[in-house]
Symmetry: C2
Subunit: 234 residues, 2 copies
């Protein structure tokens, strides 16, 4: 459903949750696009030219003009394609501010703690990361209760900005469960978010772009071995 | 020029650049508000109740409803008071995306490197921070050139979102110059940003809210001594 003559190209890496965020936004908006898989160990000239500051995926190239950073891209798509699919950001300025605040929390607190739990340099640091992750989950549970007001999604009956921000991490949550038996959202700690994951998992637009969990599990193992080898060489 | 019956209250701390960001936005929009200075070593119940997640300033309370995080607050003010003063975010979605990308760069790269230069745990880490700060300045210089298109501000003839994001750091740049003789924006490395600071310094709306530099210098010395004492006790 891409607009008249619009050309959308996404530079991505299949396992990246940030790339998945953009794929989700494109999927919910029903937009057609060209997807280009990047080899992050041998980045393309197009990627380096399109995102010279960060040299990272995702990059969305719209009619030749690059947009970088997953949350910036999702807001951009929402503004350019306001008539397509659901509107991600609420209309009310206060609700928009809440969405932006909690989207930052998802990356800066929830995801950052989770990464610390997985990549901490010492056992102590990892344990701290686990504790902070579950504290962040409880905080998010409270936010979901307040924002969703009894509806299935942060966005109400349809997915919104926060559903996309958090939904991009669902595949990695499933991967953590397979690998370590840890459920980040469970019935005892966060019953509402557990239900939210159930609803999100069933969305066609999510199923269409979700990476294969077995492949993610393998990818995580290889990545972890690489990180351990690099640390041993230092 | 606060709207009919609107009540705006800002919880802040005079030396915080993030609080200054909100003061600048209020100043450029010409809005009246009540300012409440917080003692960060003894936070008020109002602050803890209004920002239970971060327990940080700034918090803007608009008709009893709290908004947190400086960049979220500035966007909120821009949306609620769209008719007052200059519009901070551009109208064009691509330019809006650029503004959001570079605002994140200012906090996540420029400011983070600068803090590393000042607070690094070792001399090596500090030196790395200095190098990264000046690299970030050169990158910002390029962004300013592209975005301002020969005009005095990121926002063109009027200040915009990025002028406020970066302008909030100007008082601390002056402080760094007084204390360490370091000019972050100078004629050789970043002639355009040097001119930008000159223009920004002269704006009545900035002068009205800029903290006193001598007081900031004293504050920085005390703060540094506290950090050093805490490190020595560990």
């Amino acid at each position: 459903m891409s607009g008249g003559g619009d050309e959308l190209k996404l530079l991505g890496m299949w396992a990246s949750p940030f790339v998945l965020r953009v794929k989700l936004a494109l999927s919910f908006k029903g937009l057609s696009y060209e997807y280009v898989e990047e080899d992050l160990k041998n980045k393309s000239d197009l990627l380096l030219r399109s995102n010279p500051v960060q040299k990272k995926v995702p990059v969305l190239i719209h009619n030749g003009k690059p947009v970088c950073e997953s949350q910036v891209i999702v807001q951009y798509l929402d503004e350019v394609y306001s008539a397509a699919g659901p509107t991600f950001l609420p209309v009310d300025p206060y609700e928009r501010a809440m969405a932006r605040f909690w989207a930052a929390f998802i990356d800066d607190k929830f995801l950052a703690s989770w990464l610390k739990a997985g990549r901490g340099k010492t056992a102590e640091e990892k344990a701290e990361g686990v504790k902070e992750t579950f504290a962040a989950v409880e905080t998010l549970e409270g936010a979901f209760k307040e924002i969703s007001k009894g509806k299935p999604f942060f966005g109400g009956d349809c997915v919104g900005y926060l559903d996309i921000a958090l939904g991009a991490l669902v595949a990695w949550m499933h991967t953590a469960e397979v690998r370590h038996g840890i459920r980040l959202f469970d019935a005892s700690r966060s019953p509402l978010l557990e239900k939210w994951v159930e609803h999100f998992n069933k969305l066609d637009e999510f199923v269409a772009v979700m990476p294969n969990i077995d492949r993610l599990v393998e990818h995580a193992k290889v990545r972890e071995a690489e990180v351990a080898a690099a640390a041993a060489n230092n």
